[in-house]
Subunit: 368 residues, 2 copies
């Protein structure tokens, strides 16, 4: 892991993104905001899954006018409005009390895709209003939204073209006196996306929102996002992340947390390590792992738990975990922080493991 | 992507691993080899899922003696025997016709975990027999198997300790005149695992088998493996991979292929990119994507297909794919290699997309 890339802090409602702040998990509510019941139900699921910043899309005046009710429902949870085409929806969104507006420069600054004079005026009007209300903005560039002049200059929506598009908009906002900007540069092309974000990070201190556009269905989409977002996080880049998956938003939110956990960037729950079943397992591993997972699912402490099927590599691996158990015929060896604690009967193994995990969680909470 | 790390070629039965060869997908059959019916059924599933190298674990003489029957079943598919504790099982495995034996040095060279004189003799006996039969060996080091003297020297199973353990065994095999060695260095600690493999790759030209030990249940385990294996593949490191997940082996094999596809290392099937549903979708995206996926599942050509819900970023994104469709109200815009082909009715969209994909696949096959 590289040290974290240094970014400025940007306040988004009750949270701050960037600097030394925890990397935040966000997701997009796909219900129309004007269908308030559907939106509320979806947002409730998102919050339950661990979504920390809720984004909604604004496509028409009805969507924009409904944002006040959405914000009221979300209360302290930051609300971000995704604006498409019409900057007036951004102005309405700000009046309605959102905490951040996300502009796609390519479709706000000019439908022609050129960042022309009239486009600049529209963006400036939004920035002025956002500054007056003390809210943040995201400049969201993607490979499909690069302006025509940059496409011509670079020959294609290359990493360089996306970076130049993002820089242009950030510089314009800066010249308009607006600094509370978060930036995203996304592409369906994983290498191009990673390269663009790396380049942009090397040149600026804007907090970065990471994601791979249109990552697709869970399964492959999860893997592609994990590799791309994971690569950047391991380089110390990224202040908020969104995994984009088609379907139930709880799945993409869980995937975002799993990526943060696997990279060690942020852990909110126990990590359970199980051996891949092999010929030598001495206990019903899959059952034990599933049971342990169920038992500790409410524990909110970053504890490494290992459940290992045998005494071959078992003790060595279990010893590296905070709490570990290695199966033997009819019993298990319990470890805590690398120290052998005691042998336990197979029938009591899960109980004993849970007890150790909860005891450790209490100690960690008491210390915090 | 970095250029591929240069490794020597090592033959494993009908396949060659290393050098410029395709990165191979392998998996571990967890059925006891002596339970031939169960093993055959499991291996059939593994092969159907795209497993290219089948590994089995050998824990007793019965397992070892059954390897001939396993090899007969697998025919041209390379068979690897994982040997634990007793080097005599390795000798038997070689006699039974396996294509590679995998030794865990820490438990072959000496139960004490020290690579002592007697341990060296045992490893040499295996190497001599393997050379005589022209088969390969894997030196498989993991954090739980590092020898005691190295643990003492490094203070812990650090990346450096694992690398030194691997080098020691490779050097010993080299001094015994055995060069057909593939190496793996695995750990449950993602950063430690990546660091160790990077270090080892920088010093040697042995083909590398990648994996994260005990990655756990699908979901989190998949994400952790994708980040770790993906990071190494993006650095050009890795000649064969295994994703270790508890449960159905078809899941881990699919995950391995997905990692190869997402990193662009190896693509065997169409890639379908769908937008994350947002407020603006003009078609029933999830349904269309699922249908397209089903329709092209037998196509074995690396074609990028995009299915996009609207005409906002749709055309731009769709144009980057080999075949793309962007929804409009009641119809879709079809693209091929960035060129707009025609408008199609929503009811015929999937048919038309499939037709374009199959036509392109035929052209690619004809050229190949």
């Amino acid at each position: 892991m590289h040290p974290r890339h240094k970014t400025r802090e940007v306040r988004i409602g009750t949270l701050v993104v960037g600097g030394e702040q925890p990397i935040r998990v966000q997701s997009l509510c796909v219900s129309k905001t004007s269908d308030i019941d559907a939106a509320r139900a979806e947002m409730r699921r998102m919050l339950d899954a661990g979504c920390e910043i809720v984004r909604v899309a604004v496509f028409d005046a009805g969507d924009a006018d409904a944002l006040g009710a959405i914000k009221e429902f979300l209360s302290d949870v930051p609300l971000v409005a995704d604006i498409h085409f019409n900057h007036k929806f951004a102005l309405t969104a700000i009046e309605q009390g959102v905490d951040k507006v996300r502009l796609n420069p390519g479709n706000i600054a000019g439908l022609s895709g050129t960042f022309d004079g009239a486009g600049r005026e529209r963006v400036k009007a939004v920035a002025d209003k956002a500054r007056a209300k003390g809210i943040a903005m995201r400049v969201g560039v993607n490979s499909g939204s690069v302006e025509k002049d940059l496409l011509e200059k670079h020959g294609w929506a290359t990493a360089g073209a996306m970076v130049e598009s993002a820089l242009r908009h950030c510089e314009f906002l800066e010249s308009a006196g607006f600094r509370d900007v978060v930036v995203s540069i996304k592409s369906t092309n994983l290498e191009q996306c990673v390269e663009a974000v790396e380049k942009f990070a090397a040149e600026t201190d804007f907090p970065l929102h990471l994601g791979i556009t249109e990552a697709g269905l869970p399964g492959y989409g999860t893997i592609k996002s994990a590799i791309g977002i994971g690569a950047l996080l391991r380089e110390g880049i990224g202040d908020t992340i969104r995994v984009s998956l088609t379907g139930d938003k709880a799945v993409e939110i869980q995937a975002a947390w799993d990526i943060l956990k696997a990279t060690g960037c942020r852990v909110r729950e126990p990590e359970i390590i199980a051996c891949p079943a092999c010929g030598r397992i001495a206990i019903d591993l899959e059952k034990v792992v599933a049971e342990v997972k169920e038992r500790v699912k409410d524990v909110r402490a970053p504890i490494r738990i290992s459940v290992l099927g045998c005494a071959v590599n078992g003790p060595g691996e279990a010893a590296e975990a905070d709490v570990g158990i290695a199966g033997e015929r009819g019993q298990g060896m319990l470890f805590r922080k690398g120290v052998f604690v005691r042998r336990v009967k197979e029938s009591e193994m899960v109980d004993e493991l849970e007890r150790e995990v909860r005891a450790l969680a209490s100690e960690m909470t008491a210390k915090a």
